[in-house]
Symmetry: C2
Subunit: 344 residues, 2 copies
């Protein structure tokens, strides 16, 4: 046993993954794409299978005080389907494992699975396997999703090119503000259990947190309109962090326009109640499960057909760095302040 | 929220899985085989992909007091590859997720991954993805394995037929006795930390627990000799429990001969030290990762070529039940006393 001790926190989540996977040499010809993207790509006899997996731990990824089990089941599936769509693929199956302590009743588990099955039905995927085990403490959820993509049509993070348009789907930051409300109500509840929660009018932002959707529609739109993004990933850790991934992996820079970042009216109003900047929520809040992608400029005419897509900037040469152009006309370097579950 | 409360323990692990998956209707034509076997089968454009996943929790599935991290990494992979082989398929990729607390150093994780990569290399599989997250307490490991099989060549649990020979690979019960030694030494260590462990001469049984192998060779032997088992599963919960699965799923009975159950000399000697019956270890001990399978009688001549395969009995009609014929000439019903992680 080595006597050195390097703290995991000194590497950070992505540094740790890089460290642990630095020596991988793929052995099978069928391993088309390995660690480092939203999902892996496996070639099965000339057609391609996309695979992704997520591990969700109680107390780290979810808080059962304000997360209904049905919503948790739904969201656990959605988070993985989002990774499959982020590869420009269509999800077809999932495997679901859970570790449960005896504090859960069968009825509680039924609620969780109701959410799982609702997501499966809505997105046309089958639950085909998994593992069920006891846990000494805390609920543990592991989901693996499998999808299909026509050969060569999967889209990586590493293939954006200078001049490409930087785009996002939907609106950003709402899930984060929804979390702020629920954390506030949890604090009040723990201090004064009799007080009724005051979430009047915040159903949009709370819904974005508790019942997110994956952007199946955007992938279908790409297929219908013969758009092949040059790079893509899903936004689970906040826009800043994801843009920096695309830039780093693609060896590019970018310009992001603050005034183009799509935010909802509900999120903007809610952010003001917490006296925080809506742009900061969009940049650093997570769990929106929207898509971030780049397309060739020649696809611009096709893109504008879809009002769910916003062009928020463009890709530059690496030397120009990754910048945000603010409403006030200033230019700042983009920094990652996304949710980093390994910070603690 | 329902007011009823059914304890999970009242259903048992398999009852729980049946309950939670009772309403699944597969939507995709590509979902060939769903929940209920060692692995799922997905059809990818005419060829078949086999998928399985396991969730391993510290304190439930492993004890870090006597499990070196390198061995744990190795075993986590092996347990999943074994499920792929049990479908008569060849594993090609894995996804690995871990949840880790900050009590682990990067060096400790490196050891874990050394074991993971050693297993990948030995079995020719690629680690192509996963998830890394923090855990508040306890190490959490989730492995998904992917394999290939020629169309129609996957082997289920539910297709044994009366008259088929009941076979197992390797020898059984050693991992369980290995566990007894390590649990004994742990107890002594916790009571008297100064005492050196006394595991002299027990390397075989301890090795079977800490560094199991998956039976790649048996699947290769089947392919070379054109043997297609009529049913198969891996032995992870003990022979009794697994035989009952095959009988129940195939709607058959069986006769198992006690004197044909393969046990090693090392396991037999070790079992005597604990004053337990070696046959009981083979029947109820788990984690051997051997294969249990049935073949048509016409394959008998081919089977005997392989001394790693033992014919231990035969399949009967369901009405005759599942029995063991003891050395003393008695006949008992086989009962499942396998490791049930949900008993607690």
């Amino acid at each position: 046993m080595s006597k050195e001790r390097t703290e995991i926190s000194s590497l950070g989540e992505f540094g740790l993954i890089e460290h642990l996977t630095r020596n991988i040499e793929l052995q099978n010809a069928s391993s088309v794409l390995g660690v480092g993207d939203d999902a892996a790509v496996v070639d099965h006899f000339g057609r391609q299978t996309v695979l992704t997996t997520d591990l969700l731990l109680e107390g780290v990824h979810f808080d059962l005080i304000y997360t209904p089990l049905k919503h948790l089941g739904y969201k656990s599936v959605i988070a993985n389907l989002s990774d499959i769509y982020a590869m420009n693929a269509v999800p077809t199956q999932i495997l679901l494992s859970i570790g449960i302590s005896n504090r859960f009743s069968v009825e509680a588990l039924d609620e969780f699975y109701e959410g799982v099955y609702a997501a499966c039905e809505k997105y046309g995927v089958d639950l085909v396997g998994g593992d069920t085990t006891s846990s000494q403490k805390g609920l543990v959820i592991s989901v693996t999703a499998i999808g299909e993509v026509a050969p060569g049509n999967f889209v990586k993070r590493s293939t954006a090119r200078p001049g490409d348009l930087l785009c996002v789907s939907g609106d950003l930051g709402a899930a984060y503000v929804g979390l702020l409300f629920l954390e506030r109500e949890k604090k009040i509840f723990l201090e004064s259990p009799g007080v009724q929660p005051d979430l009047e009018g915040e159903s949009y932002v709370i819904g974005r947190l508790l019942k997110p959707e994956a952007r199946k529609d955007i992938i279908a739109f790409f297929a219908e309109n013969k758009i092949l993004p040059t790079s893509m990933m899903d936004i689970s850790d906040g826009l800043s962090s994801e843009i920096l991934h695309i830039c780093k992996e693609s060896n590019c820079g970018c310009v992001l326009y603050e005034d183009k970042i799509p935010v909802s009216e509900e999120m903007r109003n809610a952010a003001f109640k917490f006296e925080i900047d809506p742009t900061a929520c969009a940049l650093s809040g997570g769990e929106d499960y929207e898509l971030l992608f780049t397309v060739a400029q020649s696809d611009y005419e096709k893109l504008v057909l879809n009002e769910q897509i916003s062009v928020v900037g463009y890709i530059t040469e690496a030397e120009q760095g990754a910048h945000i152009q603010t409403r006030g006309g200033n230019k700042h370097a983009i920094t990652a302040q996304g949710w980093n579950h390994l910070r603690g």
